[in-house]
């Protein structure tokens, strides 16, 4: 009976497992082969030479640093702002529906439209620079003090904050109201209620949001690429630029070795997040 049940599970899982195998696992395994050969012509096995070359590449190092900085700023900021907004939404009595609609708008706006909007604002001839020039700032100053990383963070927040709000909001709705009532009866203020109830019961959701934010961090490339092209200024040159440009230069070896290195780092990072989540959840239970 157990074997029969297990067989049925596997039968239902089979289509998606096959899809995973064909579209993800096999190409991913095959890309390891490309990372271990010298080029697509002679295909000589070179061991870890491409990995060593990629790690020693100054541009790769700079791209990795920029990606880390971007992640370090945008992930906590995106989570914090989303949590704040979802708490505000939860407490709002009037106008919750229109506010929710406005906050969820970025989820349904196509990337092209969004990039056009950002281009109008942040392009070298955009509205922001126009405004600064009208304020009397010199055009040379405007050009020299363009905060590209800031623009990127704003785009990331705009694009992903709605998603985080949805997750946080659903997490907040699962917390029983009676807990807050009990805390209020015991004389706890809003801040104490947040730390002792909301934060604790929201921790599984927080980890999910963190996980998704890290993953989404790598998905903002499309907008950045459309906004600044394949060769942006050095301070926002990310790992995705590096890999995308290696593809366009037909350098499969550098591309695959960089992708594997990124996979390893990201894998370790996600494992740490999972482990931390387990530790925190166990501690609260």
């Amino acid at each position: 009976m157990r074997w029969k049940q297990r067989g049925i599970y596997w039968l239902f899982l089979l289509p998606s497992l096959l899809g995973m195998l064909v579209f993800y696992v096999i190409p991913f395994g095959y890309s390891l082969y490309y990372a271990l050969i010298d080029n697509m012509g002679s295909r000589q096995f070179v061991g870890l030479k491409n990995f060593a070359g990629t790690l020693a590449n100054q541009l790769f190092q700079s791209a990795a640093l920029n990606t880390t900085v971007f992640m370090g700023i945008s992930v906590p900021l995106g989570m914090g702002v989303a949590l704040l907004l979802s708490l505000c939404l939860q407490r709002t009595k009037r106008g919750r529906v229109p506010a929710t609609m406005v906050l969820l708008l970025p989820l349904v706006v196509p990337s092209g439209t969004m990039v056009y909007f950002w281009k109008v604002l942040f392009d070298s001839n955009g509205l922001v620079n126009e405004f600064l020039l009208r304020l009397g700032v010199s055009d040379q100053w405007v050009v020299q003090h363009q905060c590209h990383m800031g623009v990127l963070v704003v785009i990331f927040l705009w694009k992903n904050i709605s998603y985080n709000i949805v997750l946080f909001w659903s997490g907040l709705n699962w917390i029983p109201k009676t807990y807050y009532e009990q805390m209020a009866l015991e004389g706890a203020g809003i801040w104490r209620q947040f730390w002792n109830v909301t934060w604790i019961y929201l921790s599984p959701t927080t980890f999910v949001v963190m996980l998704m934010s890290i993953v989404n961090n790598f998905k903002v490339f499309k907008e950045v690429y459309m906004l600044y092209g394949a060769y942006p200024s050095a301070d926002i040159y990310m790992l995705q630029h590096y890999m995308n440009n290696q593809f366009l230069s037909m350098n499969m070896q550098k591309l695959c070795s960089a992708a594997y290195l990124l996979f390893l780092v990201l894998g370790v990072l996600l494992l740490v997040v999972f482990y931390a989540q387990k530790r925190v959840t166990d501690a609260y239970q």
Binding site: I26, G29, Y30, L32, Y33, L36, I37, D38, N39, M40, G41, S42, R43, Q44, F45, N57, Q58, L59, S124, N125, D139, Q140, V143, Q144, G229, A230, Y231, S233, A234, Y237, Y242, N245, Q246, F247, L248, S249, M250, N251, M252, K254
Partner: protein
């Protein structure tokens, strides 16, 4: 349960290892042996005994990145010589409206890159410079044609402009074979040259600093008209005119370094922006050629000096006009960088991807497009049986063809006048040469001694053009900031 896991793990490892190492055998040697058979066919298909002995057969797909209508005619000529050969000519960017348009261009490039890397590319790629020789070398997606050249007893490198071929060389490898080339030439206003004390002879190289000196001296002496502009008819604008020539001075592709942040480049930017011109970078380039335009240039400067130079592309089409240079013009002069490197362009350069199904046939076709010919043709106007037009007005890469095609082009222009039709009884063999004795010997010698630098460096133009536009056109960048941005972005491109 543990057993199942063990079996699954072993199967996964086996699968990954099998997939990883299944293609590890080197295929290059096998492919070279296909491309270079022991009885390698000869260079010119129509007159070579070897190719007559061994009839070629097979089907090739030739992909041209841009539309190049004459490629189909060349393919047809080759098919006529070899009835068992079928050549399918495909074009990547078919609509001229799509040129420079981001989306169709990027879609095409992504598709081409994917096909080349996956070994499903065309048999021959006509690459106007979208990939650099170094990229071909690093990726290994194209054959090293130098190995084919060296192994083919019927291909003699010394018969070709080796300085042109060397421009494409990377570590002794040759991935691109150009069939023709164009060089930028200038004609200067003689009165202004004399006033500046500059004397130039025909075919001398001249760089932007010398042109600037002439302009400054003329301005100081009050010799310039009120509406003076650098170029006659403002064909290119100072940025476009000089940047291609100076580019090799500031970029060392082989070393992967650039020096746009140097004081010399900043000075270059300031100097070239100060020259009076009515054409911006975004307006593109106006191409004009021939003796008529030279006459106009000469006449425009007779009363007052309205312009300093006339820009032209040296091609077979314009050789006749060299004998009619007006007295108040100096030239032709070759535009070079300050270090004496001369840039050139080509409309027909071939790459053979490793995905080529018939490397031997591809090499024969390449030789057909570059090798010395017995009977040249003049576009579609004059095309007797057995003749071929492989130069399309450009300079042929085979030295011998310079004489044969040059003579024909000169005679054709002589009979055509301005009508663009050739009389039915046109017989070049019975006509006298329109060129003075020793003209082609001198020209060949001159061209052979230039140090050529490739001007097509992949997609780097997409990086520097918007920055230069901001400096020259919209005036939103200072020279220092422009130089800094170029250094940063081109530096990234070089280091990748």
């Amino acid at each position: 349960m543990r057993r199942e896991r063990l079996v699954l793990s072993a199967a996964s490892v086996f699968l990954v290892v099998a997939l990883t190492f299944s293609g590890c055998r080197s295929s290059q040697d096998t492919i070279y042996s296909q491309a270079l058979p022991e009885d390698s066919p000869s260079s010119t298909a129509e007159d070579s005994p070897a190719s007559q002995d061994k009839e070629l057969s097979g089907e090739l797909t030739i992909l041209s990145v841009y539309e190049f209508s004459n490629l189909e005619r060349i393919a047809e000529e080759f098919e006529t010589l070899h009835p068992n050969v079928k050549l399918n000519v495909e074009v990547g960017i078919t609509s001229s409206a799509d040129l420079g348009m981001a989306e169709p261009w990027e879609q095409f490039m992504e598709q081409l890159t994917t096909e080349l890397m996956s070994g499903e590319g065309p048999d021959i790629l006509v690459d106007p410079g979208v990939f650099t020789p170094k990229q071909y070398q690093q990726s290994g997606v194209a054959y090293d044609l130098r190995e084919w050249m060296d192994a083919d007893p019927d291909f003699h490198l010394e018969e070709y402009y080796e300085n042109i071929l060397q421009a494409y060389e990377v570590d002794g490898d040759q991935y691109t074979l150009p069939a023709n080339f164009w060089v930028s030439v200038l004609y200067l206003n003689k009165e202004l040259c004399d006033a500046a004390g500059v004397s130039c002879s025909a075919w001398d190289t001249v760089d932007y600093t010398e042109i600037l000196d002439i302009w400054r001296a003329a301005e100081n002496q009050g010799l310039l008209a009120q509406d003076f502009t650098l170029e006659f008819m403002d064909q290119k604008g100072p940025s476009s005119l000089f940047f291609d020539a100076e580019f090799p001075c500031f970029v060392d592709v082989k070393a992967g370094t650039c020096s746009f942040d140097s004081p010399e480049f900043i000075q270059y930017l300031k100097d070239t922006k100060s020259i009076p011109s009515n054409r911006t970078l975004s307006q593109g380039v106006v191409t004009m050629s021939g003796s008529a335009i030279m006459g106009d240039f000469s006449r425009s400067n007779q009363e007052e000096n309205h312009s300093l130079l006339l820009y032209d592309m040296l091609s077979l089409d314009s050789l006749v006009s060299l004998s009619e240079i007006p007295e108040n013009c100096v030239g032709p002069l070759i535009l070079s960088s300050r270090e004496g490197e001369v840039s050139f362009s080509t409309s027909l350069s071939f790459v053979v991807p490793t995905s080529c199904s018939h490397p031997e046939l591809a090499w024969e076709f390449l030789k057909f497009c570059v090798a010395p010919v017995e009977t040249p043709a003049f576009y579609s106007f004059y095309h007797p049986e057995g003749s071929v037009d492989i130069v399309q007005g450009g300079f042929p890469v085979a030295k011998e063809n310079l004489l044969s095609y040059g003579e024909l082009y000169g005679k054709a222009y002589q009979v055509m006048g301005g009508s663009m039709t050739i009389p039915d009884d046109f017989d070049p063999a019975s006509m006298d040469s329109p060129f003075p004795d020793g003209f082609f010997t001198q020209l060949e010698s001159v061209v052979s001694h230039y140090r050529f630098a490739i001007d097509s460096l992949g997609r780097v133009g997409e990086i520097y053009t918007p920055i230069l536009q901001q400096y020259y056109d919209t005036d939103t960048l200072s020279a220092e900031e422009c130089a800094r941005q170029l250094q940063e972005k081109v530096g990234i491109w070089l280091q990748e």
